[in-house]
């Protein structure tokens, strides 16, 4: 089956119904393995057991940026290729991206208090992630403001593309500015600066969290398609109502 075949929402519903249970099962298994590895991971020589917060904080930070990247690609799909499922994908990804960004902010604060002595500082990394959270809320609000999904999709796509500038800012904020937040220690040119005994659980938890994101995204896309069907049927019902 060609990728273009998925442009048909009915075909997407049928295919996603088949793969969703497998995705959910893979997510559960990956999390079970990830938690088992995380529980057995040694304490960091400087941070002690608080390093365990990293196993949820770092994957949620990656997925916060991944969420907006998915929305950006979907925005291109809406504006350039007018793919029928593009704005469905963008709308479905926004609340999931917002949730992972919120997890990143809260777990980061809870990690910062014992390590930095403060829950929050307005440094470039923390502020740019907070801006990402606000942008997610802005896109969700925009979708709820405009009734017509096609029009809402175009307006949200433009906002998403403008907001994409924040993704490299988040990634490189720790290099461009002097921040309290530490620089990159996993994705860097010279390779990861983390011992394998801590890196391994982190990567497994990142895979598990990514699978969770994909599972929730597919499920939310299904809901959005059904919501549009309900909307069109309500409009048809109103059209058929006596007195029209």
């Amino acid at each position: 089956m060609a990728l273009i075949d998925l442009a048909n929402p009915t075909r997407f519903l049928s295919l996603s119904a088949k793969i969703l249970p497998w995705l959910a099962a893979a997510t559960a298994l990956a999390f079970a393995y990830g938690f088992w590895l995380a529980a057995g991971a040694p304490d960091d020589y400087q941070q002690g057991a608080t390093v365990k917060i990293m196993f949820i904080h770092v994957p949620s930070a990656w997925l916060a940026m991944f969420g907006w990247t998915v929305m950006t690609l979907a925005a291109l799909g809406t504006l350039v290729w007018r793919h029928p499922l593009a704005d469905v994908s963008a709308k479905a990804a926004a609340p999931i991206g917002a949730a992972f960004t919120l997890i990143c902010l809260i777990t980061g604060s809870l990690w910062g208090r014992p390590m930095w002595g403060t829950y929050w500082v307005w440094d470039a990394r923390l502020t740019s992630v907070f801006v990402l959270f606000l942008m997610n809320l802005g896109v969700i609000a925009l979708w709820r403001t405009i009734d017509d999904p096609t029009r809402a999709g175009r307006v949200a796509a433009i906002l998403t593309l403008v907001g994409a500038i924040n993704i490299p800012i988040i990634k490189f904020s720790v290099d461009w500015w002097n921040t309290l937040h530490q620089p990159a220690s996993v994705v860097k040119m010279s390779g990861p600066a983390i011992h394998p005994s801590i890196l391994m659980p982190l990567l497994v938890m990142a895979i598990a969290a990514t699978l969770l994101f994909v599972t929730l995204h597919v499920a939310a896309m299904r809901n959005e398609i059904l919501k549009r069907r309900v909307r069109s049927m309500q409009m048809m019902q109103a059209e058929l109502a006596p007195g029209r």
């Binding site: 529980a39 002690g48 057991a49 949820i56 904080h57 014992p114 809901n223 059904l226 069907r229 048809m236």
Partner: protein, 63 residues
């Protein structure tokens, strides 16, 4: 597993994450059930996307 002097921060971080993910999953599942129910209700009343379309068009042309 000994979480040391900062156990509160570690446990709270995992608990908050669990709560946010549970709310997200619960919201998506509840929304899916509500939508499926609504669509089934339309179906029971004989209103379907495909069957209604020609009827609607026919009514319009009759009018």
């Amino acid at each position: 597993m000994n979480l040391g002097p900062h156990a509160f921060f570690i446990v709270t971080a995992y608990a908050v994450t669990g709560i946010i993910i549970a709310i997200l999953i619960g919201w998506i599942v509840a929304e899916h059930r509500a939508l499926t129910r609504t669509l089934a209700d339309f179906d029971a009343r004989g209103i379907t996307r495909r069957s209604t379309e020609p009827k609607s068009a026919a009514q319009k042309s009759a009018a």
